[in-house]
Symmetry: D2
Subunit: 313 residues, 4 copies
Amino acid sequence: MAALRLDESASGVFAIAVTPFAEDGALDLDSATRMVDFYIGCGVSGITILGVMGEAPKLAPEDSLAVAGQVIAAADGRVPIVVGVSAPGLDPMRALTGAVMDLGAAGVMVAPAAGLNTDEKIEGYFHAVCEALGDTPIALQDYPPSSGVHFSTALLNRLFDDLPTLKVLKHEDWPGLRKLSQFRAAETRRVSVLVGNGGLFLPLELARGADGAMTGFAYPEMLVQVCEIHAAGEHDRAEDLFDAYLPLIRYEQQVGIGLAIRKETLRRRGVIATAATRAPGPKLDTDDHAELDRLIARLDRRLDALGIARKNV
Amino acid sequence: MAALRLDESASGVFAIAVTPFAEDGALDLDSATRMVDFYIGCGVSGITILGVMGEAPKLAPEDSLAVAGQVIAAADGRVPIVVGVSAPGLDPMRALTGAVMDLGAAGVMVAPAAGLNTDEKIEGYFHAVCEALGDTPIALQDYPPSSGVHFSTALLNRLFDDLPTLKVLKHEDWPGLRKLSQFRAAETRRVSVLVGNGGLFLPLELARGADGAMTGFAYPEMLVQVCEIHAAGEHDRAEDLFDAYLPLIRYEQQVGIGLAIRKETLRRRGVIATAATRAPGPKLDTDDHAELDRLIARLDRRLDALGIARKNV
Amino acid sequence: MAALRLDESASGVFAIAVTPFAEDGALDLDSATRMVDFYIGCGVSGITILGVMGEAPKLAPEDSLAVAGQVIAAADGRVPIVVGVSAPGLDPMRALTGAVMDLGAAGVMVAPAAGLNTDEKIEGYFHAVCEALGDTPIALQDYPPSSGVHFSTALLNRLFDDLPTLKVLKHEDWPGLRKLSQFRAAETRRVSVLVGNGGLFLPLELARGADGAMTGFAYPEMLVQVCEIHAAGEHDRAEDLFDAYLPLIRYEQQVGIGLAIRKETLRRRGVIATAATRAPGPKLDTDDHAELDRLIARLDRRLDALGIARKNV
Amino acid sequence: MAALRLDESASGVFAIAVTPFAEDGALDLDSATRMVDFYIGCGVSGITILGVMGEAPKLAPEDSLAVAGQVIAAADGRVPIVVGVSAPGLDPMRALTGAVMDLGAAGVMVAPAAGLNTDEKIEGYFHAVCEALGDTPIALQDYPPSSGVHFSTALLNRLFDDLPTLKVLKHEDWPGLRKLSQFRAAETRRVSVLVGNGGLFLPLELARGADGAMTGFAYPEMLVQVCEIHAAGEHDRAEDLFDAYLPLIRYEQQVGIGLAIRKETLRRRGVIATAATRAPGPKLDTDDHAELDRLIARLDRRLDALGIARKNV
């Protein structure tokens, strides 16, 4: 089978996958397989693994390859798999990229190294990255709360103009609505813009030119439907659906503990076997569980009121 | 008239007020008066002026005093007025505090100076502040995204234990739900906890022991009602009302441009004459205005669907 | 007398002045006068007041004007006085600038506001500053450890190309030697580059094209001589002199307590009456005093060994 | 041979080793062997590898083990080898620790993970680290400019009181002289304090209770002698020697390019074959080389003037 390759036409929802662990922190590859089927059942266009929410920095290289291999095999060509390869050095980044592309990945995701604090430095860095990674398709992640690196819009346009292997802008600067409009207005090559931040602003971002989302909210079927309904021109219906989930999106959007909330939600939905994170990682306590119970129950009631059938996953 | 004084019993909603300007940046004191009546008409328990969202750092000292004087006079003892006095030096802080307390302020709000990066340094700072400000009642602002200063929960408890003039914790660390629970569980003197962040987590925070909110969302009447309905034990009804506004709360929760959104909303509601901010400050463009139109129209439809009458303000 | 005006020919040493206080924190204007005579006696080309080391953020506006007025009057046209006017808002910056230029200042110094994290934002900011300040000559301060703002070299060149009222680059990025070389190589209008950081790299920076220093080391006569001897082509002799003071320069180069060290050294030299800083500010303890005793004694012995006569100040 | 183990008696100089590369970025293990002999010839008490200056984050795990194995074998029990194992996750940290201790390392060095911004969080982190690493002796690195994490003195004392496997405080907060004095005064168990920052304040730190240095200045023989002479009570002679090298210490103390300067100096001294760093990494240009030529020539003349014989290495 010819491998799927990430390109500028990426749209819809790329699920940012968690990395499933057993309670003792061992990889849980069975859950990884189930998760792939779940995401594909939700209608996603692709899956992105080994990002920040995939606890990539806490994995040994052999763990990373095991996860990538399992996910790519489970997807079996049904959707493209993008692999996060951000690293402080270009050598480990190149090595991991080569290995996952050999396994059948569709492309890689790269966030800038810490400490790049001027346009010049960021620009030099991505030129070096693209040279190091050859013809591998790349999703550039613009996520300042995690990287501490800030891209100006002009710089983003320049990078995508100059570096043809950059295919997707994972846009999650915040606030970033105007940045998205300006990026679109100035681009000379039409690339894919997929938004992050759990989808918190998804309907507004679709209206401003985003092609979809690359994010990990625990109800990806909703994000998929919102993209589809919006594409069909029914903007208010898309936003009605979205707003029903907004209390939970907001709840998941808590840096740190958000990962534990997301994993626990996926666990409750039968996707992964445990909500365990690797140390040092967040854990829910009794109050958190009660809060999540309540918010999920409220979501159910709201969906009933809207007459929305639950996706069977 | 005996001046109102801020104390540990503060509850409900303290509105974080904007500072109204004319288009040329001059103070618009008529709008300030109208704003006070608006907030009081919304049912707020108090008003806080000259915070970050009040553009305090862009005011000359005489501007600050003019605003404080006008607001305190307009309130005329109906609700307590808290004044932000954060400053890099204790001398200007003490001077401003003395002046506004003489004008009839009920207390002051203090955020830590930039660069305090250990518990020891923060602790030393607030001991010095409290000594400098004598018996003035103080609301301590814990807002890391603005101050860059991080309080551990143990430190907050220690500060409130040791410093009796600290009356209110303005809690807007994020994520901060567990911090709020832990603070309450460990406190030895019951103080007021009022939450910020535009109220984004208000219902959850009330359930975890908050006494109310000190924040500036442009529909304060909703925050007031949520606090009241929650206090009456109708938690789901409170959250239903809250959720109707959540798309707008999220929209306002964009650092930087959020202030322009808030001012424009207040302008549309007839509260202030212009949405002008002082330079350097954010401005809405055509896309932003259209987005806000749409979100407000959606809110109206949602309130109609819920059968909620609009507050006449 | 026609006021001196800062321009692109600025060279030699501009002393960054402290603000002298009495033990109780009151302004000590007699010491300010004595300090001006001291600096001029040291051979400085100019004096810069109300910078970070002048504790400007801890001064009330009337204090700032009192200091500026006293220093400008004491200098009496002998050397230009540059006044730090950095402020979060452009209105207070413009007001202070107008007031000090009316008093006879030669120009102002501006550091970027906090939070400017891309080339675009910094560029927009300085265009707004220059427009707000009209034809006032400006020294742009590039000092990331204090401002948290990072200028790329290309951005600095662009700003100086586009904004004719920018006259001086106060260069204290660190490390910054290559930045200085690159700035000089690319500039199209020859402007003044004066270095900071206490002069820690002064001889190397002079060799790379700096015109002098704008810094506050407590022995400015040495910085003046190093500039003069270097200008005369005797680079090794300049560096021999510099190296004798290097242990003390390094000692003063401790953020925070460095100001207390500098003030105490000036006090010991008879320049200012007390070493007091305004709260919150650093204070020397017994260990620090003993260390400073020792380092000054060692300097004296080293100067004797080099046969260098002490400047009588 | 019983493996050497790091303990509270560590003193003198632990050299922070670079990782030698060929021009193409491959590991240069021959140079690693030569480097070990060089350091031991300089009189160091130990060698620390795989720290920030060892470019650890740019090494693949197999590279890290290859370097550790080679260095430990080359040292052959003559001095203890400490290995940097800082990592975002505890699992990789534990795995690397186990592997290098099996190879014969004497202990490990741990810097806090990024983002720990309160005493509580740092304390929790080090308790988890110490539990994960069992009885492995640990050097705790307090280096805020690299980690972004700030320890209060009280916290450091508490950690060393509570966690018996913490043996060494690698102290390189800056400014940090008073912190060192306060830590010593309050400690209940006498531990080793070794200072960093290239040794920039070494004589002052020895006087305040440091036991030596753990740092990578390219002339470690001087650091060793300064420690010895200081220990013999000849404080001025120690400082005279130190001051001769101060211009170069200052020059190396430039974050980023400092590593390239250090490697080039070691290359010139015949220790390593190339000055190559792994990408992204700093490189010296013509100006930098000329500057380094000049500073080294000046050092030679100064040592001659002092009648100090050069260490034959």
